[in-house]
Amino acid sequence: MPKRTDIQSVLVIGSGPIVIGQAAEFDYSGTQACRVLKAEGLRVILVNSNPATIMTDPEIADATYVEPITPEFVEKIIAKERPDALLPTLGGQTALNTAISLHGNGVLEKYGVELIGANVEAINKGEDRDLFKEVVEAVNAKIGHGESARSVICHSMDDVLKGVDELGGYPVVVRPSFTMGGAGSGFAHNEDELRRIAGQGLTLSPTTEVLLEESILGWKEYELELMRDKNDNVVVVCSIENFDPMGVHTGDSITVAPAMTLTDREYQTLRDVGIAIIREVGVDTGGCNIQFAVDPADGRVIVIEMNPRVSRSSALASKATGFPIAKIAAKLAVGYTLDEIPNDITEKTPASFEPTLDYVVVKAPRFAFEKFPQADSTLTTTMKSVGEAMAIGRNFTEALQKALRSLEKKGSQFTFTGRPGDKYTLLRAAVRPTDGRINTVMQAIRAGATPQEVFDATKIDPWFVDQLFLIKEIADELTAAEKLDPELLAEAKRHGFSDAQIAEIRGLREDVVREVRHALGVRPVYKTVDTCAAEFAAKTPYFYSSYDEETEVAPREKPAVIILGSGPNRIGQGIEFDYSCVHASFALSDAGYETVMVNCNPETVSTDYDTSDRLYFEPLTLEDVLEIVHAESLAGPIAGVVVQLGGQTPLGLSQALKDNGVPVVGTSPEAIHAAEDRGAFGRVLAEAGLPAPKHGTATTFAEAKAIADEIGYPVLVRPSYVLGGRGMEIVYDETRLSAYIEESTEISPSRPVLVDRFLDDAIEIDVDALYDGHELYLGGVMEHIEEAGIHSGDSACALPPITLGGHDIKRLRASTEAIAKGVGVRGLINIQFAMAGDILYVLEANPRASRTVPFTSKATAVPLAKAAARISLGATVAELRAEGLLPATGDGGELPLDAPISVKEAVMPWSRFRDIQGRGVDTVLGPEMRSTGEVMGIDTVFGTAYAKSQAGAYGPLPTKGRAFISVANRDKRSMIFPARELVAHGFELLATSGTAEVLKRNGINATVVRKQSEGEGPNGEKTIVQLIHDGQVDLIVNTPYGTGGRLDGYDIRTAAVARSVPCLTTVQGLAAAVQGIDALHHGGVGVRSLQEHAERLTAARD
């Protein structure tokens, strides 16, 4: 019974911007699904507001709508495209919730759209706590296994307080219904915590519902990934065991596949329960994951939850097993059965089997607490990690140590030198789950803790604890050995020790260890991920390294290009870089090269074994990359290694790779240095006669002070060689400068701190360009909405620039060309300019793919990353123009007047973080980047495009209601006109006394409301914060004041986040929002696919 013939077109909903809990994995799954459906001959219509995705590349779907994923916009798309079916299970919770809304409001029925891959009843049974509990009870009645944690459903705080008594007291778990990534859930140990967490949860839940549960903290946690087809065939694709026991969100746990500590009987019980659940819930076709807790004392099994859709775990499971869940889910949705679908990897066996692994996979989470110093870093059932790394090894120790070094974070690898500290202090610290707890445990072991003590403190399974002891014992052997003999070295490598770790232990340099190792012939081999533990021959070269005997890398004829990916997602280096790497792979494959991808991020499209000719799932460290280059050089010719598309991670390896004789193509390591080193870059600018803000570099406070005194406060200070504005700050006075130098740990003579004049009131401009050594192709010019001083990654921007004229573009082009030439770029360069007064300052230049490349590419319908990859390998702009990869004439700087306007808006993770008192973290934007993702709004005029970007990022702008305005003194002038516009659009204005006074004098009426600090009035007049919490405010404008004053608006802004009220923190944002509201008032906001935009643009170019 093959494909259904009654479906000709399918609407796929993506997951929108990258947020914590919903990240690149949905680009991976969505891209797979779209490709499969297209290959099946269906017309694929896609909606996703996230431009940094491969799935929104125009060639992936037939009609690609980069529009907000809201029921309103998706309805417009349905009305226009009239798809036969809607596939909602591949775009995370966003897609599922949107589909449920469209079902609920009758849109699907109205337009005759069939939901495929899931039915509403099954979604509700899987997602609704109460219904799911009934499912588990029914399963238990049938098969005698599986139960739910004892729990009560609550819809009010009264219910919640009563519920605790019913469960027999604290601690209890609070879980809000229908939120993603476990948002808002947590453990309450007392009434205060309960009121806080449950209050928040009731607010976050779209159905004002939370579940209170008995605590199963410390139990073993497992997850099964299942798939079912319409003939009721069910397979378990993967089992995953959490290293961190219950209490830590799976997304924040170190996880291991396959399960390591279950007997077959226990595993089969989980499998039986899982299969019975997928049947009982009624997931007709597709995948789901089910989480279990197992009591380590007696094996009691509790079913925690299920997701009736493709999830983060299914992406991990797909990469861990080679079984492409999303791809197969899409095929099942259009009518195939598992036995009709071939296993891609063996090509000969069907997908109706269960992968078996002859290796171990470890996933480790990547956190960004350093970006949110106020936030409580305790790991709970609310996911807080921003990315993850996966590693594969032939045993747990190898996979674990590879995963930890893949995190590419200082201190993430185990260290065995120095004094570990006091055992009891360390054990006490290990009780609290945090980022890096595993390192604390290792130090406790070094300090003499026993396995029992470690288990008592952490409840980590004794088998895992023993593996840590094993690693420690090998470190001890390395320490004690007279010399590094081949046996010991091989043993250490088999347990995942890096050359750097061995070097640290032996007091040697890393390259010396490497030389010794090579001299002794201790090198890794590469094994294949083949779904079947070598039972059948694998056709897909998906490799991981291991210190074993036999390598499986086959010889090849064609020259290979090795593309280094960007590693785990983190703030500042996310999916945008994966996008560029994937594009490079596609373009170079088309150009006749064999493409080899290296990356360790399981969420991405780049680590889909279909993307490149060969995939190495490996850490992106010098050691690991050098070994891959070696292995590939034995397999055939190597044309080069591409380092400039994966962000700072590969760029940082560039010089060392070259020093080791690796052919780095594109911009040379020396040129990279010329752009990154202040002195060298200063000379480039001076030669080109370009101004930069006054600046200097300092390694001490005295030096910094001297520079600041000379150029004047405020100054912008930051460490060198960082991405995402890490540690960047605007400093207004000497006291703060002193404290900054004091606090900065990363300052050293080789890593000085940069002190720049801060340009107040400047317009910031981003430029992406290609340079081949002779010709410049200006990819696009983006004008930031927010002024300079807010990190470009957190700032909204417009392309084409909305207030710059032809003369400005000319200057930008000339400056860009001069810098590209001066630095020696071959490929992409991103330059940030600031226009202050009439002077165009150069802020910085990055000779690599930037975060904005996907946005620029989509806004101008030109594949910049593909072109950059080709230029890296010697093609010229002229050749690429002739080939058609670049437009025949013109470039992104000279877009036709009726080109669409694209607005990029950043999405911030505020709602994820609380401080230790449980209060939200402040939402003010600054020079350090903190956004996790972005959306794009595209339309014919700026106002509509901006309104769309807001709808995509935070929810629609209000078109009526009450707007609260409170701005800093310096913003009061610029506030007047937008405020008047709001009134004209029928808004009622609320303001604090100072702002209200200014408005009044300008003839604008505003109701004065009480500040939080004033407290409730004598007649019960509420404060602004209370009003926000009561849902009486629809729009908030709150700009922070100077330094100290920044805290005044804190309560307002955190209340806005808690209640999801749009909150503008800059006047430029207000002005843009007013244009957006104006556009919405004029009505008729339409939708248009990227393909249609591109057609018009191409027509206009000709």
Binding site: Q268, W463, D466, A534, E549, E550
Partner: protein, 394 residues
């Protein structure tokens, strides 16, 4: 001739294949030497069941899963009274077992039962070798048994082949025993009170098989491999069962003759694994040795009557040669292939269309493995309930 490896973890060991390929690792379990047929098993769980499965008699089992022994050894999971594998090959043995049911570590158990093993070798390379060249003889040598490679190779080449080996009698029970039926609440029913009685011919039976029948209210009389038709009918069976077991089915003339006698009488009949091969032979089909067999718990088998796919446990090196595309005529009426492995189209089940007899090549009793095929025991039960044979019961 074996000693402990514990406390001397780094005792070198050598694995020698009959085609001369050699792997060097460390001793695991008992130290000494052992020979057998090298086969690989791809199950990621259930090593305790695998080790105690009599079908592995005279085989050296290579575990493709790298970590073995993590959950230790308990008293509930063995499938028979002892470990049967003749040698054990693992990559990373557990140092510390962790499970609430664990009683002792696996290497202690291997050593206690004198099972020679090897650890720390590239098991994937070995598996690929066996996949490409086929199952073959192997020897594992550790401690004093290690000598020159050529000498070891000669020893391996002198070891007996699996093809032509008649092993059932070596592993089967010598005395008949009874597994009582279980009542609705899992209580043991007094012998003689069950609704149904099955005579199970033990060719190397796994403990879970009579257990699965007992759970369905069946009293199971387990008979030695050498049982005759008289022995079988002496227990007044409602059905006869032929178990799994080791060795080459081409040598199992005794069980084939017994099976024919049962078919003649039309008693409901069910066979598993070796039992399936016996049915194949009884019906006149041939059997053949697979290149490297099916051993694992993830094999997709299609029930050709329903089209549904089961994920199943396998352990077989031989298979029945029966036509997939048509119904065959046999001395006992029409027969067809009821189940097929989707990986390689190997016959996985047979059924007679005119008599109450069927068999499967795989393991519906699982242990280790998924429970997808447990319905076959229900099928056997209903066969016995719906086909009351004359003169079967007093």
């Amino acid at each position: 001739m074996t000693t402990s490896t514990r406390g001397a973890v780094k005792t070198p060991a050598v694995l020698v294949l009959e085609d001369g390929r050699i792997f060097r690792g460390r001793a695991y379990g008992a130290v000494g030497e052992t020979f057998g047929e090298a086969v690989f098993s791809t199950g990621m769980t259930g090593y305790q069941e695998t080790l105690t499965d009599p079908s592995y008699h005279r085989q050296v089992v290579v575990m493709t899963a790298p970590h073995v022994g993590n959950t230790g050894v308990n008293d509930e999971d063995p499938e028979s009274r002892r470990i049967w594998v003749s040698g054990y090959v693992v990559r990373d043995p557990a140092r510390v077992p962790s499970n609430w049911r664990s009683r002792r570590s696996l290497d202690e158990e291997l050593e206690r039962q004198g099972v020679v093993g090897i650890s720390g070798i590239d098991t994937r390379a070995l598996t690929r070798h066996l996949r490409e060249r086929g199952a073959m003889r192997v020897g594992i040598f550790s401690g004093d048994a290690v000598s020159g490679d050529a000498e070891l190779l000669a020893k391996v080449q002198d070891a007996p082949q699996m093809k032509g080996a008649n092993l059932s009698a070596e592993v089967a029970t010598k005395e008949t025993y009874v597994v009582p039926a279980l009542g609705p609440d899992g209580e043991t029913l007094p012998i003689g009170t069950a609704k149904l009685t099955v005579a199970a011919v033990d060719l190397g039976i796994k403990g879970m098989t009579p257990q699965r029948m007992a759970e369905r209210g069946i009293e199971v009389h387990v008979l030695p491999a050498t049982a005759t038709a008289d022995d079988v009918y002496a227990v007044n069976p409602d059905g006869v069962f032929f178990s799994n077991g080791p060795g080459d089915p081409a040598t199992a003339d005794g069980p084939v003759a017994l099976m024919r006698a049962v078919l003649e009488r039309g008693t409901p009949l069910f066979g598993i694994c070796f039992g399936n091969q016996i049915l194949g032979r009884a019906l006149g089909f041939g059997t053949y040795k697979l290149k490297y067999g099916h051993r694992g718990i993830n094999q997709p088998v299609q029930d050709r009557t329903t089209g549904k796919v089961e994920v199943t446990a396998h352990n077989h090196g031989f298979a029945v040669d029966a036509p997939l595309d048509r119904v065959s005529d046999t001395p006992y009426g029409r027969a067809e292939v009821s189940h097929v492995c989707l990986n390689d189209q190997v016959v996985e089940g047979l059924q007679l269309l005119d008599r109450p007899a069927f068999s499967v090549q795989y393991h519906p009793e699982a242990a280790a493995g998924p429970h997808d095929a447990a319905y076959l025991f229900d099928r056997f039960t209903s066969l016995m309930n719906t086909v009351p044979m004359e003169g079967q019961r007093a």
